[in-house]
Amino acid sequence: MIAAGILRAAPTAPCAPWSRHVLTPDAWAALVDALRNDRDVALLSMWADSQLVYCLFHDIGTGDFIPASVQVDAGAYRALSPVRPAAAWFERMIHDLFGHIAEGGTDNRPWLDHGHWDQHAPMSPRATPNLMAAEPPQFLPTEGDDLHQIAVGPVHAGIIEPGHFRFTAQGETIVRLEIRLGYVHKGTLGLMRGKSPRAAARFAARLSGDSTVAHSIAFARAAEAAAAVEAPARALVLRAVMAELERVANHLGDCGAIANDAAFAFLPARFGWHREAVLAAAFGAFGHRLMMDCVVPGGVAGDVAEAGILPVLAAIATELPGLLRVYDDYSSLVDRMVTTGTVRTELVNRFAAGGFVGRASGRDFDLRRAPGYAPYSDMAFEIPLLQAGDVDARFRIRAAEITVSIDLLRRLLAGLPDGPLTVPLPLATGEGIGWAEGFRGDIWTWLRLDGGQIASVFCRDPSWLQWPLLQAAVEGNIVADFPLCNKSFNCSYSGVDL
C-alpha cells in the first residue's frame, strides 16, 4: 500500500482542524517501509510527548495535511530517518527530551543534551539523574587526502547566536560541514506545560525573537483550534499586519546583511535605515518594536495606531527598485552571489524546506496560500518563485517578497474591519494544530489542552528543515563564502534549540 493509504486507513483521534491518525506500531512500521519509495508524502514536523511520537505529513498529490501518531512501545519506536533524512534531528531531540529510542535511526548521537543538565530525558516522567561529566561531542568521521578541519563556535565572531560548525576542508574547498546545535536550549517546551495558553504564549513569542509574531500567531491558532473558538475579524487582520511588518523588517535586514558579507557597505546602510524605520513604525503602531506579546490566544493584545506605517512603506517602495539596480550593477557583488551555495530542487523537496530556502530552489510552498488562513485566504497575491537555488536567488526572493508584503499591508490597512480585539478562551480539553507563514517559512504548532492548561506542545520552526540543507549548500564552496551562504539561509538557532 502507498504511504498515504496506510495513514488514511488508521483510526483517528480528535484534533482540529485535521483528525490525527493513530497508528499501531505495526502500521507505523508498514508506513516507514512504504515511505521509502513514496515521494508523494513529505514530513513537515515530528515531535513527542511521554507516550506518543507524532508526525505531520503532507500528501503532496491531494494537498492534504495529515497528523499521525504511534504509541511508544517499551521505550522505542521505529525510526523514520532512514526514509526521511530530515527526521534525524527530530529523533535526536525526542530522545534527549523524552528518552524514546528511534530504532534503526541513522544518527543516535545526543543533540540537545550536551551532558550539562541534572537529568537525562528531563521532560519524561521517568527522567534519570545525570551522574556523568559532559563528554566532548563526536563528529562524523572524514577520510581522504589533505583534509583539515576548522572548528568554529559556539561563540561566533559576529553578533549572532551560538552554534558549532565543524568544517572539513581540502585546501580552500569545503568538503563537509557538520552543524552541532543545542547551545541555547532553554527548556521552553517544558516551561509551557501546565500553563494556560495565555501564559504559555509568552514562551512561543520567545522561541525565536525574529519570528515572534509568526510563532505567536501559530501558537494562538493552535490554542484556538483546540478550544474551538475563532479570533475576531479585526484581530485576524491586525495579526496579518504585524506578520507582514515582521516579514518586511527581517527581509530588509537580511538583504543588507547578505550584501554586508560581500563587504558592500552601501546596501546594508540603506536597507538598515529602512529596517529601523519599520521597527519604529511597529513601535508606534503596536507599542513594541518587534511586536512581541502583541498577538495573544483569542486575538491581539491591543489596537493599532496605524498612522506611521504607510509613509514608511512608501519610502521603501520608492527606494527599493534603485537599490536592486545597484545590486545588479556591481558585478563584483553579483559575482559573489551567483552560483554560490546552490541547493538543488530535488533536495529542498526531499527535506520539505520552506520559506525563501525552498522558494529560491523551485519549491512552491507558502502557508498563506495552502492550506491558507484568514485573512490571506480571501486575498490574491503573488508568491515569488525562482529555480537557481543559490545565494543570489535567496536574496532576490526576499527582495520580491518585500514588495508583495508592502502591497498586502496597504490592502490590509485599507480594509481593517471594526469589532472586538479578543474572544475569551474557554477552559477546554482538546488538541489543535496552528500554522503561520513566518519570514523564514512555514511554522507549525501543535498542542493539547487539558482542562484549559497545556498538557503537551511543540512549535516547529522552519529552520528544522533548512539547517540540514545549509550543510549541503556549502559543499564544494570555498570557506570564505560560508558567511554568505549562512546569511542567505539565516536559520534560527533558538528556534530549533527550543
Binding site: 540537545l112 532553554k186 516551561l191 514562551f203 525574529d210 546602510a269 513601535f283 518587534l290 539596480r325
Partner: protein
C-alpha cells in the same frame, strides 16, 4: 544610484539621530562603582565582544541595529570586535543556558583585564521568563561578574546606546 545618493546625503543633514544627553547622576554613580576597575585607563574607546549565552535572538536584533547608520555606534569610539581577546567589554545576552555556561566562562577568561561585563535584556538579569527551567543556570552574574545591566525585552537600540555611553563616560 550610489554616487547620487552619497551626494544627496552630503547636501542634506546627516541621517544619524542626535544623541540623548546622558544623566550626570547616573554617570557619577557608575563612575564610583567602576573606580577600582578603571584604575588603568582604557581611554575613550571601548572594544565590545557580544556573547549570546542563550537568548531568543531578539536582543541580538536590537544590538545589531547599533551598527546601522541610524545609531552609528562607532562615532562614540565604541566598536564590535570579533574576538574576546581584542575586547574591553563583553555584552552578554540571554538566560545563561547550562549548555552555554562553559563557553561564556571561557570567553570571559579569554578577555584581557581590565574588562567590563554588560548584561543585556531581562533574561540576562536573572533568567527572565526562563527562570527555573532545568536547562537554565541563571542570569549572567550566576557565571561571571556583571558591571552594568541594560534591561528590556529586548532593550531598544537607544537604551543600549545609553548604557554603553554610560560605561564610556564613567570610564573616561
Amino acid at each position: 544610484m550610489v554616487w547620487r545618493s552619497i551626494a544627496r546625503t552630503l547636501r542634506q543633514c546627516p541621517l544619524t539621530v542626535a544623541p540623548e544627553t546622558v544623566s550626570d547622576a547616573a554617570t557619577q554613580d557608575l563612575a564610583d562603582r567602576l573606580a577600582a576597575a578603571s584604575q588603568r585607563r582604557l581611554g575613550r574607546s571601548l572594544a565590545i565582544r557580544q556573547v549570546d549565552a542563550g537568548s531568543c535572538n531578539g536582543c541580538e536584533l536590537e544590538i545589531n541595529m547599533l551598527n546601522s547608520i541610524v545609531y552609528d555606534l562607532e562615532r562614540f569610539g565604541l566598536r564590535f570586535v570579533a574576538s574576546p581577546r581584542h575586547a574591553d567589554v563583553l555584552l552578554v545576552t540571554g538566560p545563561i543556558t547550562r549548555n552555554m555556561q562553559d563557553a561564556l566562562r571561557r570567553t570571559y577568561d579569554a578577555t584581557p583585564d581590565p574588562k567590563f561585563v554588560v548584561a543585556v535584556g531581562d533574561c540576562a538579569v536573572d533568567g527572565g521568563v526562563f527562570k527555573g527551567s532545568y536547562a537554565i543556570h541563571g542570569g549572567v552574574d550566576s557565571t561571571i561578574p556583571v558591571d552594568l545591566v541594560v534591561r528590556g525585552c529586548p532593550p531598544s537600540p537607544a537604551q543600549l546606546l545609553e548604557g554603553l555611553r554610560l560605561l564610556l563616560e564613567a570610564n573616561a
